[in-house]
Amino acid sequence: MKFPYTLYVTAACDTGEPIATFRPELTLRIYGPGGHWDSVALVDTGSDNTIFSSEIASELGIETTAGQGPSSRAFGGQYIPVSYAEVQLELCTEESLLRWNARVYFADFGSNSIRAVAGHDGFLEYFTATFNGEICELELEPNEHLPLVAD
């Protein structure tokens, strides 16, 4: 499954000039009692968990459990309390569709931060991921451990 990176226009940190920035993102569908939502998620090898905004859990009627462990720590040192739930996630391309069970975490992110992150637990652990920087494309190959949902 191939996913072209998303193009953003950002200001370069050094010069401030507008530049093209590509991020490895894909559309991830999350299911809950209230239906399903499609959200653009950043595929992040630096994230231990797969995390969505708490707003999405509320809208989908997903009952979450407050995490008993420590808050997650973001790059820069911010601590983010999380809750979690067992849900189904889905990836879809023109060629194939994959739907699987996953533990997903929910958090109230800061005012200007990504709101959906596909990290290791629940996502990257189930794929061989190739980040092709030359053509700005992510390729995912599911492995045998992907807990697919039967049709």
């Binding site: 072209p4 990176y5 998303t6 193009l7 953003y8 226009v9 950002t10 200001a11 370069a12 940190c13 507008p18 530049i19 093209a20 920035t21 590509f22 991020r23 993102e25 559309t27 939502w37 499609d38 959200s39 653009v40 992040d44 630096g46 994230s47 905004s53 707003e55 999405i56 809208e59 973001a74 790059f75 820069g76 911010q78 983010i80 992110f109 800061g110 005012s111 200007n112 931060s113 990504i114 709101r115 959906a116 992150v117 053509i135 700005c136």
Partner: protein
């Protein structure tokens, strides 16, 4: 490889975006092919409802973070 936006569009014409930087800090609702923005705003639920009114029953929701990005937080907040 630093590129201007025009170079990036020319080199990668089929990649999604560009995500409009003027919507930084807002939710946007894309159509199914992520080629058209159906609605945008600060409230997730309202943006999705506006997208449905615009004909997008199943929009793809995205929160826009168009600042330089390091980890889950944008650089230079505030």
């Amino acid at each position: 490889m630093r590129m201007t936006v025009e170079e990036a569009k020319r080199r990668f014409p089929n990649h999604p975006g560009p995500v409009p930087s003027e919507y930084d800090g807002q939710w946007i609702a894309w159509n199914r092919t992520r080629t058209q923005i159906l609605a945008h705003g600060y409230e997730l639920k309202a943006v999705r409802a506006a997208a449905a009114k615009a004909g997008g029953d199943e929009p793809i929701m995205q929160f826009v973070c168009s600042r330089p990005f390091i980890g889950p937080h944008a650089a230079g907040q505030g």
